[in-house]
């Protein structure tokens, strides 16, 4: 399928976009023992690419160890983080990596059913993905007795309905089951009690796409890229004030400064790393590295130059969270509203610094007391933008009530 995003892959790195022949990952995997695959993934040091960075091998091991007749592999393709568009590219350009990653995961943990939870807005790619699955079936890479072995595996695609929170793995599972998309209590974790109460692996599109490469080229090879704690490469979705926005495959450990040079950004004032739920990095921190040891991210990079009003940026983020909170737990449902109100107060100049500090404290409570990652990360931008851009935001006209 000819895609408009083709030109958006600005840089193909040596890992994810390295040469790969369709089917070779499955072929290689089916010749291996399950434990060997687990070992290889562990050796590679692969961590979840959705942003949280949980070791993939640990997730698979726990699911493999769980006792159940039925297990599921879920591909989280609910790419909803503002500023992220790398999964879209993978699904459209490299579906073989995604689907073969799922098949290998299924083989490893003992599952015969994969489900792709596809973002509702990506409905346009549904038919081409389904065609692709049919082709895989024709080639015996999917379905019963794959490549002549005893291993069966099928993949269904389920469309989401547009809720940001459904990117959270337990909310995603609730949604798959036909319920309101609300995160579950953890523990129990999906590796034990997931979809339909069965052990379930939920992996990001990019995580799964890394798997066939690891299997065909070894964990050792994968580990050579990136840093000690962040192995391999990462897809970054770069947007904002730069000449060359698009998807970049870069090794982990790249600094913001290096990235900005690559994308030809000028007069950059701030970089939002990790989307709306990430942190906002000011100029004096541009030497920081992208990686789990410093700036962990699902890959969203938003660049703001000197013309941008950071308060408006913040307000936009907070409006997003007020809208997208699932409304289940108190800190997130009401907390985000209070943070937005605080932002609006600053905008109008009706705030007091005392109250803004109270709200920052509230933000810290939300980070530790919310039920899921949404509420735990939504105050990040509030806290980091207000801390890092104090002078700009509280400049003349926005001195606040207690200075008047």
């Amino acid at each position: 399928m000819e895609v408009m995003t083709e030109k958006k892959i600005e840089r193909k790195g040596p890992v994810l976009f390295s040469p790969y022949k369709r089917g070779e990952g499955i072929k290689a995997a089916l010749k291996l023992k399950r434990n060997d695959i687990l070992f290889e993934v562990k050796e590679a040091g692969l961590k979840g690419r959705g942003g949280a960075g949980f070791p993939t091998s640990a997730k698979w091991m726990l699911t493999a160890a769980a006792k159940s007749d039925k297990k599921y592999i879920v591909c989280n393709a609910d790419e909803g983080e503002p500023g992220t568009f790398k999964d879209r590219v993978l699904l459209l350009e490299y579906p073989e990596l995604v689907f073969e990653g799922m098949v290998i995961a299924g083989y490893t943990v003992g599952s015969d059913q994969g489900i792709v939870y596809l973002r509702g807005e990506y409905e346009y790619m549904l038919s081409s993905l389904e065609d692709y699955l049919k082709e895989m079936k024709k080639d015996n890479l999917l379905g019963d007795k794959i490549l002549g072995t005893d291993f069966n595996f099928n993949i269904n695609i389920h469309l989401g309905s547009g809720a940001y929170v459904c990117g959270e793995e337990t909310a995603l599972i609730e949604s798959l089951e036909g319920h309101r998309g609300e995160p579950r209590n953890r523990p129990p974790y999906p590796v034990n009690t997931g979809f339909m109460g069965c052990p379930t692996v939920v992996n990001n599109v990019e995580t799964l796409s890394s798997v066939p490469h690891i299997i065909t080229k070894s964990g050792e090879w994968f580990k050579k890229h990136g840093t000690d704690k962040s192995t391999g490469s990462k897809l970054f979705s770069v947007s904002g004030d730069c000449n060359k926005p698009g998807v970049y495959e870069l090794p982990w450990g790249t600094t913001i400064k290096e990235l900005l040079k690559l994308v030809e950004a000028k007069d950059t004032k701030a970089v939002q790393v990790g989307g709306a739920s990430g942190v906002c990095v000011p100029v004096n921190q541009f030497d920081r590295k992208l990686g789990f040891e410093d700036l962990a991210t699902g890959g969203s990079i938003m660049i703001f130059n000197k013309k941008r009003d950071m308060l408006k940026v913040l307000k936009n983020f907070m409006e997003f969270f007020v809208e997208e909170s699932c409304g289940q737990c108190t800190p997130c449902r009401i907390g985000n509203v209070k943070l937005l109100e605080g932002t609006e107060m600053i905008e109008k100049g009706t705030h007091t610094f005392k109250y803004i500090n109270t709200l920052k404290e509230l933000g810290k409570t939300m980070q530790v007391a919310s039920k899921c990652g949404l509420g735990q990360s939504s105050p990040n931008s509030f806290i980091s933008i207000l801390d890092n851009f104090k002078e700009e935001i509280f400049s003349s006209g926005r001195n606040g009530g207690d200075k008047k």
């Binding site: 160890a65 089951e177 909170s325 108190t330 007391a369």
Partner: protein, 637 residues
């Protein structure tokens, strides 16, 4: 997992703890440190339970002992060493030797923030709230020293109060989205009227298509009211109208009181659950100004006569006359919540419902006919108030067919909570009242009528009477002290087989219905007792599938968990522990009564002599004491 079990989202279901990745397993003990104190608990115990068993207070809001875990309010957060975020103690199962801290600066601040956030959205004032002084949010505000609204306070109403239902009033401005009502409705009762809709800040609890409560499949059981931590849900309170009637000298206001309120009303006055205040309550009601105080247990006895006779008639037609059209098993019809549940969910089984009215409605019909005649009072001047443990009774007395006296048989259904409030309003301290008896002619009831309040009570009362009428022997010969224990207890579904070992002569009162008992010789009466509509659903599905319950002869159904004593009109809180104590109060009062079988109640016997002259299920009783039902179905236009 069966589809049925999937109805409640996993997030709101009890945890299944897999022990594959931990060395310990279910059944073993785990040692943990709570606030540096070493405590040993069984594997899988929640942090909350571990704390409570060790007298460590952890506040809760969305947690309720009757319901599954939600973990949404976040007020019960604690610190677990080694975890980045705080953990909700209600949902966190202890599976490893962890270190827990329940009162660190971070925990205290988080809890205070959460209380303040809830208060910022909680519209309405405590003064004007039915739950003033009995509100969990109010208590938390006090506990956490809230002296100002840290995050402001909402000044405008966001939602319209839904007063459409006769039973339940919903004021979503006071809702804190703990979803206890949702879990009560879908999980405890399996009705599923309420669910959260919309997202984020717009989230609110609503009904199908946001219809008013009166227009959806709500069965009016009021269990949601009993579990609401705030005043967002309350019963439709008629006490202003009742005061008006009391203060009107032209009105003759009579009160009939059900058995369960007297076993619970003390709780409204700071008394421990499990003590009956029958005599004290009678005095209080008279002092308030009710002209007569009657005992609904009297018509409970009458219900046994009517419903029991109906059962015998059905059995005779089915077994002897081989009439295939007779619907068996016969279902009890005393619980209006259950009746409406059946009308909505299993309308095809309406013929199985006993046509006998509930005790409340029998009473109303008799008050405005027999009693009015005897006392020479114009029935239009009589106001009949029913003190009930029930929210659905408010709906029942407003059913359009409930006017066989020519007037509205029962004018108002009043809950235990509302009665307690009226007693307080009158300046009466209930526990200090002298005791007094009910008024006659409806004042003397048997213990059989009294135990209607507990699950299994109707069945026990019916069995006491049926066994004696059939065998001609004392029921004490079959069951010690006439306590039919197989139908007692709090198990959700009880099944019992009662063999009829011998038959006696047909008693006078039934002679025109059947010639002899020979057809019942060596028969086994199969009965079942069910409480809570979730359990009712299981039994109904079994009957539909032709299972063992379809072979029963008689099944008692009560909509509320525990029967009437756990009703939606009872004092808050109501938990399993409290329900058990109330049941004890009822059963011990039954044992203390001189008459414990409905057919031995001399006032019932004389009523059949004087008024219902053609006997149980005769023409007069059919007109006054029996009713019909409506096929409602699940879809309402």
């Amino acid at each position: 997992m069966k589809k049925d079990e999937l109805r409640t989202p996993v997030s709101q279901r009890p945890h299944v703890i897999e022990s594959t990745h931990v060395e310990k397993g279910i059944g073993e003990n785990v040692s943990v440190f709570i606030n540096d104190k070493k405590i040993t608990v069984p594997f899988g115990t929640s942090i909350l339970d571990a704390c409570r068993e060790n007298q460590i207070h952890v506040p809760t809001l969305c947690h309720h002992p009757d319901l599954c875990i939600a973990g949404t309010c976040r007020i019960c957060v604690v610190e677990v060493e080694g975890m980045r975020t705080l953990q909700t103690s209600c949902s966190f199962p202890i599976t490893a030797p962890i270190k827990i801290h329940t009162s660190t600066p971070m925990v205290r601040k988080a809890r205070r923030h959460i209380v303040d956030l809830l208060l910022s959205e909680h519209y309405g004032e405590c003064y004007t709230c039915v739950r003033n002084n009995n509100c969990e949010l109010q208590s938390l505000a006090k506990e956490y020293g809230v002296d100002e609204y840290m995050f402001g306070h909402v000044t405008e109403s966001r939602y319209k109060v839904d007063k459409s239902s006769y039973s339940v009033v919903r004021d979503m401005d006071k809702c804190i989205l703990c979803k206890r009502c949702v879990r009560t409705c879908i999980d405890l009762q399996e009705v599923g009227v309420l669910e959260a809709i919309d997202r984020g800040y717009e989230t609110h609890i609503s009904t199908f298509m946001e219809k008013p409560l009166a227009d959806v499949i709500c069965i009016n059981c009021g269990q949601c009211i009993n579990r609401c931590p705030t005043g967002a849900l309350k019963a439709n309170d008629p006490s202003d109208e009742i005061w008006e009637a009391i203060d009107d000298p032209t009105k003759h206001v009579v009160m009939q009181t059900a058995p369960s309120p007297r076993a619970a009303i003390g709780e409204m006055f700071g008394q421990e659950p499990g003590k009956s205040f029958t005599g004290e309550m009678n005095t209080a009601l008279r002092r308030i100004g009710f002209d007569k105080v009657f005992d609904t247990n009297f018509t409970a006895d009458l219900t046994i006569m009517e419903e029991g006779t109906e059962l015998i008639k059905r059995l005779y037609s089915a077994l002897v006359k081989k009439d295939k059209s007779v619907a068996l098993p016969q279902f009890t019809s005393c619980s209006p919540g259950w009746v409406k549940y059946l009308e909505h969910f299993y309308p095809d089984y309406i013929p199985n419902l006993s046509s006998a009215k509930s005790p409340q409605q029998m009473f109303g019909a008799l008050i405005k006919t027999f009693y009015a005649q005897e006392e020479g009072i114009d029935p239009k001047d009589i106001v009949c108030v029913a003190l009930m443990p029930c929210a659905a009774k408010k709906f029942e007395c407003n059913r359009p067919e409930m006017n066989s006296s020519g007037f509205k048989d029962v004018d108002y259904g009043l809950t235990t909570r509302e009665m307690g409030k009226m007693i307080m309003e009158a300046g009466i301290l209930l526990p200090e009242m002298p005791q007094s008896h009910f008024d006659n002619p409806f004042g003397d009831a048997s213990g059989a009528g009294l135990i209607f309040g507990a699950t299994g009570g109707v069945m026990e009362a019916a069995l006491r009477t049926v066994l004696e009428l059939v065998t001609g022997e004392k029921v004490e010969n079959f069951f010690d002290r006439a306590n039919i224990t197989p139908v007692r207890g709090f198990e959700g579904i009880k099944y019992a087989e009662v063999p009829v070992t011998k038959v006696g002569p047909v008693p006078e009162i039934l002679k025109n219905l059947i010639p002899n008992w020979d057809w019942l010789k060596d028969a086994t009466l199969k009965v079942a007792v069910v409480h809570g509509t979730a359990n009712a659903k299981k039994v109904m599905e079994d009957i539909k599938a032709g299972g063992k319950f379809s072979e029963c002869h008689f099944i008692e159904f009560m909509a509320c968990p525990g029967g009437c004593l756990g009703g939606g009109g009872q004092p808050i809180p109501t938990t399993e522990e409290i329900r058990k104590k109330r049941a004890q109060a009822i059963y011990s009062e039954d044992e203390s009564l001189p008459v414990r079988k409905s057919h031995e109640n001399e006032h019932v016997v004389s009523l059949y002599d004087k008024f219902l002259t053609d006997g149980p299920c005769g023409e007069i009783s059919h007109k006054l004491l029996h009713t019909h039902y409506i096929k409602r179905g699940k879809f309402i236009v």
